[in-house]
């Protein structure tokens, strides 16, 4: 137990930092109801953290709150019995947890400002799965409730050990990515917020698929590490203080953010460039400087510029881009406020835009997760999916619609194409609806459904309602919900509002028909043109028919086109029918019937019919059945036959080794 004098010191230090450190924003951008002052020392040999934290939490709801709940994320790595480890089986993104490299957080003391001990009554809870061995959520009853508008100050001492990095946080050799590292308070949600029925804490266990949900605030953090370690963190550096014992304390301040991460390693090379008001600090491994430095800066600037004009200003004055070494690749591709980790590999060809994709994606999270604080535990599609959609927008705009992701040796793949492929060709695209809690997805389906399917339906929505309306919806959603916690209904409401403004009732009273199919359904969309034919209109026969002058009239053809709905999803479909005289007719079908038969009587025969010629319905699982022509051109068949012949000849030839 630490004496009250010591707490007072921490409190005073925090206060002095708050006073001495320069404010980033003259007026707060967010409610700032979860503010932290933390002192932490990293033992680079033992990989441990020794921390003291002062949390000031303000009750911004209209409810009386009589307990607190904290995330102890690092306990996910405590042993094989945690929910995280059970779910991931020690695997994340292809990297394994090393058996002897467990991580944990041990809260050694928790008191109120008046010294009241809170730890005695505290207990671990498992709101999601009841796994009593999981210690990632700590429930702390309070001696008296926190009333609406009231603030509470909690002093916490903790010791923690970082795991060997394999998922988002940890160490590898001398490399440290210290994320999800401090006891962090959950979000108190009132009834009605994000559609919830009753008020309560939203503080989920740490799952292998889930990441964040937190309130905004100010972080004043002092990190003490050995001299020689290059350090980067969320927010801005306030000052550096050297100590006689060979350590150095880095003080950072971040405002209007909902998390704080830091990294250090003696190997980092640091470069800085600016984009408008933003200083981009690149912390890169020496072996990647030559090949990846420019790729990081260019893609970060491209993303900043795109989001700035698309959704609105990136408010922070800085962005830190971290490049982990290959042996700490588990630390790559992560997002934290004003701080992202990328990924690069020496020898990576320029046409494989991995570094760019990761940078753009993680930067996208600065908007959808950072600035718009959706709940990633419960509605992961609202940050991962929105970010994936944003990524396709940026990548395809900057690097080419058909080459946004890959452009190597004649293979060109757009980022939106990659997203669609990730969804329609995943092993089971019907594994779960999008609107599923992050940890509830059947094994292996989380990424493809949350990221790829969401991006694919958002592209579809964009092409149905038009880019102008889509962009306005996205911008309105961002502006309305930044620094707040929106849920699904809040996004849908914005879309409905904007669609009504642009299209009136063209798409019905609301877009619910679309959202229900995409978010709650697991069915696929597939339209196919099955029949295309023309036949000569024969002269009428029989009694009482008028055949006078039939022979002198121009020859007429009756054309029939049948379009089938093979999937269960119903979306409006354009059908383009072209005739031999070059005339083309576009028919819009509501896409509801199982089979739609179109008939035309014209002087010319039909040449081809295409359902969805502009590929608006990006969720269509098979575009190869979307068109039929009457003229058979077998050149393509021969092309692939010849390719196959040559390929097999090569197989046969190279196999002749003995």
């Amino acid at each position: 137990m630490r004496s009250r004098i010591q707490y007072l010191l921490v409190g005073l230090t925090a206060l002095s930092i708050a006073v001495s450190s320069q404010d980033i924003f003259p007026t707060p951008l967010s409610p700032r109801n979860a503010n932290y002052a933390i002192e932490v020392t990293l033992d680079v040999e033992k990989k441990t953290l020794d921390g003291r934290e002062v949390l000031e939490w303000r009750n911004i709801s209209k409810d009386r709150v009589d307990e607190l709940q904290f995330h102890l994320y690092l306990n996910a790595f405590k042993n094989s019995e945690s929910t995280f480890m059970k779910e991931s089986r020690g695997q994340s993104r292809g990297v394994s947890a090393a058996d002897s490299e467990w991580g944990w957080t041990n809260v050694t003391s928790m008191t109120l400002a008046d010294g009241t001990d809170l730890l005695a009554g505290a207990s671990f809870i498992q709101p999601d799965d009841g796994n009593v061995k999981d210690q990632t959520v700590l429930r702390v009853p309070l001696p008296k409730p926190v009333r609406p508008g009231e603030a509470i100050k909690v002093m916490i001492d903790f010791k923690a050990r970082l795991p060997r990095v394999f998922a988002r946080t940890g160490f590898a050799g001398n490399y440290f990515l210290v994320g999800q590292w401090f006891p962090k308070i959950g979000v108190w949600e009132s009834a009605g917020m994000r559609g919830r029925a009753t008020a309560g804490w939203n503080c989920h266990q740490f799952h292998s698929n889930s990441e964040f949900y937190a309130d905004y605030g100010v972080y004043d953090v002092q990190m003490t590490v050995p001299k020689g370690f290059v350090l980067g963190a969320t927010g801005l550096l306030q000052n550096l203080k050297e100590h006689a014992n060979g350590t150095i304390t880095h003080t950072y301040r971040a405002e209007d953010v909902h998390d704080f991460v830091w990294t250090c390693s003696p190997d980092y090379r640091v470069f800085e460039e600016t984009w408008k008001h933003v200083t981009i600090k690149l912390m890169i491994q020496p072996e990647h400087v030559v090949t990846a430095k420019d790729r990081y800066f260019e893609s970060a600037k491209a993303a900043l510029a795109y989001f700035d004009s698309w959704l609105g200003k990136y408010p922070y004055p800085n962005l830190t881009v971290v490049d982990p070494p290959i042996y700490a690749s588990g630390a790559g591709g992560m997002e934290y406020p004003t701080f992202i980790t990328g990924g690069s590999v020496k020898y990576l060809p320029e046409g494989l835009r991995f570094t760019e994709i990761v940078t753009v994606h993680e930067f996208g999270h600065e908007y959808f997760y950072g600035l718009v604080g959706s709940n990633e535990f419960e509605e992961p599609w609202m940050d991962e999916g929105f970010t994936q959609y944003s990524e396709t927008r940026v990548m395809d705009a900057v690097y080419g619609e058909k080459s946004g992701a890959v452009d190597v040796a004649g293979i060109r793949i757009g980022d939106s194409e990659m997203a669609r492929d990730g969804y329609v060709n995943m092993s089971n695209p019907k594994a779960a609806p999008i609107d599923t809690f992050a940890w509830a997805f059947p094994s292996g389906s989380y990424g493809s459904i949350t990221y790829s399917k969401t991006a694919t339906w958002m592209i579809t929505l964009e092409r149905i309602i038009g880019r102008t309306a889509m962009d306005e919806a996205m911008r309105t959603y961002f502006q309305r919900w930044k620094f707040r916690h929106p849920g699904r209904a809040d996004f849908e409401a914005v879309v409905n509002e904007v669609v009504r403004k642009h299209h009136g009732n063209r798409f019905g009273a609301s877009m619910d028909w679309f959202f229900t199919q995409m978010l709650d359904g697991t069915e696929m969309c597939d339209y196919a043109v099955k029949g295309v034919s023309s036949r000569r209109v024969a002269p009428p026969r029989g009694r009482d028919v008028d055949t006078v002058g039939f022979g002198s009239r121009p020859r007429l053809y009756e054309t029939t086109v049948s379009v089938h709905r093979l999937g269960e999803v119903m979306l409006p479909v354009d059908i383009l029918v072209t005739f031999s005289d070059g005339y083309a007719e576009l028919v819009v079908w509501d896409g509801k019937e199982r089979v739609k038969v179109l008939t035309f009587v014209r002087e010319h025969e039909v040449v081809a019919a295409t359902a969805d010629p502009q590929r608006k319905l990006w969720v269509d699982k098979d575009f190869s059945n979307n068109a039929r022509s009457t003229e058979v051109d077998s050149a393509a068949i021969w092309k692939y036959t010849i390719k196959a012949l040559y390929w097999l000849q090569n197989v046969v030839q190279y196999a002749a080794i003995f």
């Binding site: 590898a172 004649g410 098979d622 022509s629 009457t630 010849i642």
Partner: protein, 351 residues
């Protein structure tokens, strides 16, 4: 045993292959016949599945990822059928190559007519098949054991906080370690086959072992001679890629043009493969010890010019390198003989 003599062997054997072009043509024909049924069946499947489909036709204009993956994903039958045929093809190829190998050796030692090539292939069929079996068995055992060593090397080299250059080195090393035994077994088989045909040996396993002995006795020659041929093969592949990049298959003319280029490329590479065997035959000729005196010398003396002389002789006393290709006497001796390709006279090896 100087690089010059390797060059001479390469030159001689190349000329020998060019002169005996029907051999390469036969092999080309065999591979074509082998794959053609599968390819034509594939064409029929593709045509049935895609024919009236404009999106398939779009692919003629170039690569389109979405069209491509949709066609692949939704016409799995057509594609799987092609992929499933690869395994059997590899096996059949190895066997066929072993079987025809004897014909190639014989043709390289003889005149290189198609009849000679096919005749010798038939004559040595049993021994060729046995040789293939021994080789496959040996490769399986060696690669199985070797893969443990390779795995150990890989994990030792990539343990701990390894960076990319180290990974690259480890990858290259693993590739080399994997290739080495395959190359040695491949060469040993080639030389074993040369010995079997050249000296009409009955003991296949012993010949294979002698093949190994031969390879290990002349490591530098192996590297220079077969390495050069491998290099030629690589150059041909690069040349093909360059041409493909220029022509492309994005129009009907381009498809037709590339078809021709591809077939020429396949034929030339088969030629290079024959060259490899021919050079092995020439090398064995050049370094094989003198034949015992008592070997009966046939009445015909023609072979002195039919066979390429060892480099040393060419260097010391220039002989006409181009032999008179059609000497009736030669035919007479080769036709009835049980072992027509066996060289009736060994020239003394200069020391």
């Amino acid at each position: 045993m100087t690089p010059t003599s390797t060059l001479t062997i390469l030159g001689q054997s190349l000329r020998s292959v060019v002169r005996r072009w029907p051999v390469a043509l036969c092999l080309y024909g065999v591979t074509l016949l082998l794959v053609l049924p599968v390819v034509l069946a594939l064409r029929a499947t593709l045509a049935a599945a895609l024919m009236p489909n404009p999106s398939a036709e779009q692919l003629i204009a170039g690569f389109d990822y979405t069209t491509f993956v949709d066609l692949m994903a939704n016409h799995k039958g057509a594609i799987d059928f092609l992929l499933r045929s690869v395994g059997p093809f590899i096996f059949v190829t190895i066997v066929l190559h072993g079987v025809f190998g004897a014909g190639v050796v014989a043709a390289m030692a003889g005149e290189g007519t198609a009849a000679e090539f096919l005749g010798a292939t038939g004559r040595y069929l049993g021994r060729s098949v046995r040789l293939v079996c021994y080789t496959l068995l040996l490769s399986l055992i060696v690669l199985l054991l070797w893969s443990f060593a390779i795995a150990a090397v890989w994990s030792a080299m990539t343990a701990g906080d390894t960076l990319e250059p180290q990974y690259l080195i480890a990858m290259i090393l693993v590739a080399v370690l994997f290739t080495l035994p395959v190359a040695i077994i491949s060469l040993a088989t080639e030389y074993g086959r040369v010995l079997i045909v050249r000296e009409d040996r009955r003991q296949v396993l012993k010949s294979l072992l002698e093949g190994f002995r031969f390879v290990f006795l002349h490591p530098l020659r192996m590297l220079l001679q077969h390495g050069s041929i491998l290099l030629a093969m690589v150059l041909l592949i690069l040349l093909y890629w360059a041409v493909e990049g220029e022509v492309g298959m994005t129009s009907v003319g381009g498809v037709l043009g590339m078809f021709l280029v591809q077939q020429i490329s396949v034929f030339l590479r088969i030629g290079v493969r024959v060259w490899n065997t021919a050079s092995a035959v020439a090398l064995v000729d050049a370094v094989t010890p003198e034949v015992p005196e008592l070997l009966p010398v046939p009445a015909v003396v023609a072979p002195a010019v039919v066979q390429p002389a060892p480099p040393e002789i060419i260097q010391s006393a220039p002989l006409p390198v181009e032999p008179a290709p059609k000497q009736p006497v030669r035919r007479k001796t080769s036709a009835p003989a049980r072992k027509p390709v066996r060289r009736p006279v060994r020239r003394p090896r200069s020391k």
